[in-house]
């Protein structure tokens, strides 16, 4: 069973996405606080990270950078309502390779398609 980590500061998002993905056969952990997600992160635990970008305390890009230090081959999709952040990301982290940006709102079926596509790439 593939294991996904979802980090989003909105409890309604993490809770509903968790339920939806579980129904589609994924195992899911969630965090609303990115600093908790980072301190509890263990390498080789997740097949994919689904991370919101705009969060208090630590944005999704910073979380990704820190997680990458713990696990260099971690796979990630940013999950965001603001496509504008893609350009911001490129400027902030020109050396970090991320190709998966998923736009909210999205249905669970479409989200699963994105996740599977990303998982198949590896």
């Amino acid at each position: 069973m593939k294991k996904i980590l979802v980090v989003d500061d909105e409890p309604d998002i993490t809770s509903s996405i968790k339920n939806g993905l579980q129904r589609k056969g994924f195992e899911v952990d969630t965090y609303n606080d990115p600093t908790d997600a980072l301190s509890n992160f263990k390498p080789d635990t997740y097949d994919l990270l689904l991370i919101d970008i705009r969060m208090p305390k630590m944005n999704g890009f910073e979380l990704y950078r820190e997680v990458k230090k713990k696990s260099s081959d971690v796979r990630i999709c940013f999950f965001t309502a603001f496509e504008v952040y893609y350009d911001e990301f490129r400027k902030m982290f020109p050396n970090l390779e991320v190709k998966c940006f998923i736009r909210k709102p999205i249905t669970i079926n479409d989200l699963v398609t994105h996740i599977n596509t990303e998982l198949e790439k590896q």
Binding site: D12, S16, N19, D52, P56, F82, K104, P105
Partner: protein
Amino acid sequence: MKTSIQAILTYAELLQNKSDRNREDYVKAILRNASRLKMLSNNLTDFTKMDADTLRLKKDRFDLGTLILSLVEDFRNMSRYQESKIKITVQSQKHVFVNADSERLAQVVLNLLDNATKFTKNGDISIKVDKRHDANYTLVTMTDTGPGIDNNVKPNLFSKFTTSSHSGTGLGLYICKNIIEAHGGTIWAENNDKGGATFSFKIPINDSNTNYTKFLNSRIEV
């Protein structure tokens, strides 16, 4: 807005499974997010009106304390309040009558409440309603125990598109300012010494000297 749409969309999908035991929770979550979306879309509509300077007030005489009490009661039932650990208290003097647009003032109070609950995950929000006859105005303060106002945001707090949360449009406080100023009042915010923020607004008790208003005021003070 997209955050609320995302939540509604996913919970609605989950509802399609009729054997799910949590369906009641999903309905509550949909209502909570729909209600938030309603407020955000009202803000957007009003924003366009305010920019075109076409916002008109429908003034009436009502008890502001009673209005705020009933708004808080609704808020307890309908908002994210239910799943939070926030305690909201309201202290109001009796018969704080104002001559104002009740729907618009309700919108101000709901925007401030939404803001306060967004940033205060655990803690207290206390609302006070005072009439100051010596100064001829009514003062409403809303104090929270959240993280306080970010210094980067503070100078432009009441300007349009200012937001430090990812689920807001950055229009709520701008609209509040416009509504309060249309009533001849002022609105401001400050950080508390012991943490958290206080948002306050005041509006004149009488902005017209009609006999009707004078009569009501004299009766209230008996």
